[in-house]
């Protein structure tokens, strides 16, 4: 019956594939009980298939592990891209906002401007650079003004303050005295007084040149109380928009 090995294998496969006709199937099952060679062949076939399946499963498990790793990497990369995209949007919006704000204020190319825009340090640097000594020609009005400027340049700020205040008491419309009084107060770090003088100066509409608003902004930045910076920025906007004295500094 089932003598030849290749024939046996074919029959076994037909049996397991359920393609043997019923009669042959019954013969095969009967033969199996009495034919040790066929039984051995079936035993091998069954074990070989189990071994092949186990080996294939082991390999598939490895492939699944690789698939998992690569999909985790992809997920991480996608997450990273998402974060990068979100960060880019925030950066672009931030830069855009900064650019619009800075352009509006005219702050983009000022070498004196600090990292945080026009601030206390910028004002201090300006004051240090421009208000350490006053041009003697500045006080070309009266002898008293000249004396005040000399006292200022020699470092006698108290004397300079007294001279400019006396001049103002004598003539409150003396714009030069108002300006110098403010500068002296600024040097003496009496910011409230400086703001008062510069504000009074800024209100004057009869002057050809009036740095009142610009100086008031400097004093506000140096005082640095809450809202001072905002008030200073508003003044600087006005200076820039109206091309008032000091506008080049905020360009």
């Amino acid at each position: 019956m089932f003598g030849e090995i290749e024939g046996d294998m074919e029959k076994i496969e037909q049996y397991y594939n359920n393609t043997l006709p019923d009669t042959e199937r019954r013969v095969f099952e009967e033969e199996l009980k009495t034919n040790p060679a066929l039984a051995e062949e079936v035993a091998f076939w069954v074990q070989a298939r189990a071994a092949a399946q186990a080996e294939a499963h082991a390999r598939r498990k490895e492939e699944f592990a690789q698939l998992r790793q690569s999909s985790q990497k992809t997920k991480q990369r996608n997450l990273w891209y998402t974060y990068a995209a979100a960060a880019s949007v925030v950066l672009v919006l931030g830069l855009g906002w900064w650019w619009i704000d800075a352009s509006f204020l005219g702050m983009t190319n000022n070498p004196l401007r600090g990292q945080g825009g026009f601030n206390k340090e910028w004002a201090a640097a300006y004051v240090e650079k421009n208000f350490t000594t006053l041009n003697t020609q500045m006080g070309n009005g009266t002898d008293s003004l000249q004396m005040g400027v000399s006292a200022f340049n020699s470092g006698d700020l108290i004397k300079a303050k007294a001279i400019f205040n006396t001049l103002l008491q004598r003539d409150s419309s003396n714009a030069e005295a108002q300006k110098y009084a403010g500068i002296v107060a600024l040097r003496r770090q009496d910011y409230d007084q400086a703001i008062k003088h510069f504000h009074a100066l800024s209100l004057r509409t009869d002057l050809v040149a009036n740095p009142g608003k610009f100086y008031e902004a400097l004093a506000l930045l140096q005082r640095d109380l809450p809202l001072d910076k905002k008030a200073a920025e508003n003044l600087l906007k006005e200076v820039k928009a109206g091309k008032l004295d000091g506008w080049k500094e905020v360009e």
């Binding site: 090995i5 290749e6 294998m9 074919e10 496969e13 049996y15 397991y16 099952e29 199996l32 009980k33 039984a39 051995e40 079936v42 035993a43 091998f44 076939w45 069954v46 074990q47 070989a48 298939r49 189990a50 071994a51 092949a52 399946q53 186990a54 080996e55 294939a56 499963h57 390999r59 598939r60 498990k61 492939e63 699944f64 592990a65 698939l67 998992r68 999909s71 996608n78």
Partner: protein, 195 residues
């Protein structure tokens, strides 16, 4: 695009795995990825290690694939439910193994029992007496010594690929040629094993 990627439906997965051929692997992978979140749930629910959960999940997926290919999965329940049940059984086996050192209840002797159950009782006893389970490991080792083509062919057969599919995947002219080659490879394996 990534956020709107469409998930493959269960019916597509089942259909493509059953259809076999070159697409089968792809859809097996899709099945694996689709329900991989079970692993995370198992870590929380069963308190087993990640490696154990991953291994149980892979075994469950391979079991479901076998059931789809062999027709044992008839689609009476949802694929997700079916897989979840098998996966849970695997996890329970791990818990039992970890806590009592008992052998697994839902064992997977990779098709051996199924093949034996196919035989009538008396014939089954005859064949069973000739089978030593440890020999499967020996056969696996011998399988690895075969040439690439033979090994691939026998493994594909073990996974339930038909000769027609093997011919298609391994570029044989006909299923008959693939079948003859596969049977010769099995003969070769037997010779090595018997030595």
């Amino acid at each position: 695009m990534l956020f709107f990627a469409k998930k493959t439906s269960d019916s597509d997965i089942i259909h493509q795995i059953r259809a076999g051929g070159t697409q089968r692997r792809l859809y097996e992978n899709k099945l694996y990825e689709k329900f991989h979140y079970f692993v995370r749930e198992a870590l929380f629910k069963h308190k087993i290690s990640e490696d154990e959960a991953e291994s149980a999940y892979s075994d469950a997926i391979l079991g479901v694939i076998d059931h789809i290919v062999s027709g044992r999965f008839e689609g009476r329940s949802e694929l997700k439910t079916y897989l979840y049940q098998i996966f849970t059984n695997k996890c329970v086996d791990i818990i039992r193994k970890n806590t009592t050192n008992k052998a697994e209840v839902h064992h997977n002797s990779v098709g051996l029992d199924d093949a034996l159950a196919w035989l009538p009782d008396e014939a089954q006893s005859v064949v069973r007496r000739l089978i030593v389970e440890s020999e499967i490991e020996t056969l696996r080792a011998h399988l690895r010594t075969l040439g690439d083509k033979c090994r691939e062919m026998i493994m594909a057969w073990g996974e339930g690929y038909s000769d027609e599919e093997i011919a298609q995947i391994m570029q044989y002219n006909t299923a008959a040629v693939a079948k003859t080659s596969r049977q010769r490879c099995l003969e070769k394996l037997k010779e090595i094993w018997k030595k």
